[in-house]
Amino acid sequence: MTNGITTAVAAPPSDITKRSRPASVVIHTLLILGSLLMLYPLLWMVSASVRPENEIFSSTSLIPSSIDFGSYVRGWTGLDISFGRFFWNSLVISVLTVIGNVVACSLAAYAFARLRFAGRNFWFAIMLGTLMIPYHVTLIPQYVLFLNLGWVNTILPLVVPKFLASDAFFIFLMVQFFRGIPRELDEAAMMDGCSAWRIYWKIMLPLSLPVLATAAIFSFIWTWDDFFGPLIYLNDMNTYTIQLGLRTFVDSTSASDWGGLFAMSTLTLVPVFFFFLFFQRLLIEGIATTGMKR
């Protein structure tokens, strides 16, 4: 098995034209099998969410005997507070996070990439350093701070830091992109007497839409999926995000409403899947550039 893969894989790209048919058939077969293996759990979950309740555990097949959306109805209202509320809370936090990240990180990235000021390299090194530090180190004092501000049980601890560019990863991503924009553009504007602010607003941002979109999409998905932050700061069920709602659902399904659980799980993945479907290229390029230093 593994031998088959390594020998097949090690063929140089130049061989595409003259590669023997069997080799490419082997690769395709392996890739298709791999894809099925990757997708199987996800597909099974979706199909479990539309199965009649008694069929969920007895079947490893992906095709339900009959389609029944009862699980969605049960799941949506399965807790004291409806999932609609959780979705709304998640949406508010995610959208505000997107705005905060795009605004604050692009401001900082523009300063690092284009402006000359004393201490720029020092602050840039510090910023990169913060990427390395696990957030657990600042977690407890931050919690005490937000508790004293009376912010616990509100969305503020989850959102305000983003407006202070706390997600340094996006600063890094944007700096990489800004550096690729020809300097002549802003230098010419500078000659014409444009302020730094106007250059940022009129030249940099419009030319950086791809990286801004990438940052926005990743911000949304990561915030939407975030569990730790809401777990710590949101204790009142009215403020729960869908991740917390789902976890509560798991704990409360003493009656074992598996169908409802899978239905709600599927729903929480829908927005992420939607982004994946429509902005796949941006996501993949965003990931690829983080690994490429040039």
């Binding site: 893969i5 390594t6 020998t7 097949a8 894989v9 090690a10 063929a11 140089p12 790209p13 061989d15 595409i16 690769i27 890739l31 894809s35 997708l39 759990p41 996800l42 099974w44 555990f57 490893t60 604050a104 401001l107 900082a108 000359r116 000021f117 510090i126 910023m127 530090i133 696990p134 657990h136 180190v137 600042t138 977690l139 407890i140 004092p141 931050q142 508790l147 830091p161 407006f163 202070l164 560019a165 600063i171 007497g193 730094a196 939407w224 991740q243 789902l246 976890r247 798991v250 899978f262 799980s265 929480t268 993945l269 992420v272 994946f276 993949i284 690829a288 983080t290 690994g291 490429m292």
Partner: protein, 320 residues
């Protein structure tokens, strides 16, 4: 603009040897040169001092105290650290679980990522589709929904055992068996090899094809080409992926929390380091002790990273 003109002009002409005016214009020049940069950096600077540096210093202080959020922090010297190192079986368990998780999940993840990336790099038809499918789990993986799904897949009456039953194998109850529970979490991590795969793909793209052609003409076998060309040229990317994935693995939290119901059980077999930290801080309100745990985590990650960079000289080839 006017200011800029004056700044570049000879000060003797503009300010007539008035020393105060000279000093004034120097300050103005310094201000003009630096103000825009710091203006743009302001949100980040506030965040850095208020939410990163400040809290980090405070948590370092707290790690030497007894602090339960109700009474004020009480200085206990190195007692927290001493207890972590010598008298905390749960810390030892968490360390063992986390290291097991890192050592098992990272190499497998990278191996799959590299294998699939190489298969895709051969110019197969439908590359974007395959790439998307293999990447999808990475994108969804951090969510509670996936952890819930995993919990079901590996339950005693779950899908994995139903599949095994087809072959006449009676599988154990994976998630509630202390010997197997960690492997379900490793499997979940390995399933998400999409991100490193995409980075590998980008790296493979940068290898010039004529190198392979030359090697082919010299009669090098496919395996030898892989070993002599692909692997050495990919070492910077392998290094990057290994460091990033390892740091991520040390910080893993959500799947263990959901699958064990927040306990890290059965018998601490899924007690990830961060899960233990969470229990101490927000379950038992031992904030001082949890701060010490956080700093130990930083220390471990720092040591690992430093070690990686030091040893990278011997195996990572940068083509400078």
């Amino acid at each position: 603009m006017n200011n800029a003109m004056r700044a570049t002009a000879d000060p003797a002409v503009t300010v007539e040897h008035n020393p105060r005016a000279v000093a004034d214009s120097r300050w103005r020049r310094i201000w003009n040169a630096n103000a825009p940069g710091y203006f743009f950096l302001l949100p980040w600077l506030i965040g850095f001092f208020g939410l990163t540096l400040g809290p980090a210093v405070i948590s370092l202080y707290l790690s030497f105290t007894d602090f339960d959020m109700i009474r004020s922090a009480e200085w206990v010297g190195a007692a927290n650290y001493v207890r972590i190192a010598t008298a905390d079986p749960k810390f030892a368990a968490a360390m063992k679980v986390t290291l097991t998780y890192v050592v098992l999940s990272v190499p497998f993840k990278l191996a799959f990522a590299l294998l699939v990336a190489m298969a895709l790099n051969k110019g197969v038809r439908g590359l974007p589709v395959y790439r998307a499918i293999f990447y999808l789990p990475s994108l969804l993986g951090g969510s509670v929904a996936i952890a819930v799904l995993w919990r079901q897949l590996f339950a005693g009456d779950g899908l994995v055992n139903a599949a095994l039953a087809h072959f006449g194998i009676a599988g154990p109850s994976w998630i509630s068996h202390p010997s197997y529970s960690i492997y379900t979490l490793v499997a979940l991590s390995v399933w998400q090899f999409g991100s490193p795969m995409i980075i590998f793909l980008a790296g493979l793209r940068q290898i010039p094809t004529d190198m392979y052609e030359a090697a082919s003409l010299d009669g090098a076998s496919k395996f030898r080409q892989f070993y002599k060309i692909t692997l050495p040229l990919l070492t910077p990317v392998i290094f990057f992926n290994a460091v990033v994935q390892t740091i991520d693995a040390f910080k893993a939290f959500t799947p263990a929390f959901i699958i064990s119901g927040g306990t890290g059980g059965p018998i601490n077999s899924t007690l990830f380091y961060t899960l233990y930290l969470y229990q101490e801080a927000f379950g038992n309100f031992r904030m001082g002790y949890a701060s010490a745990l956080a700093w130990i985590l930083v220390l471990i990650i720092a040591i690992f990273t430093a070690f990686s960079f030091l040893t990278s000289r011997y195996w990572v080839h940068y083509d400078d």
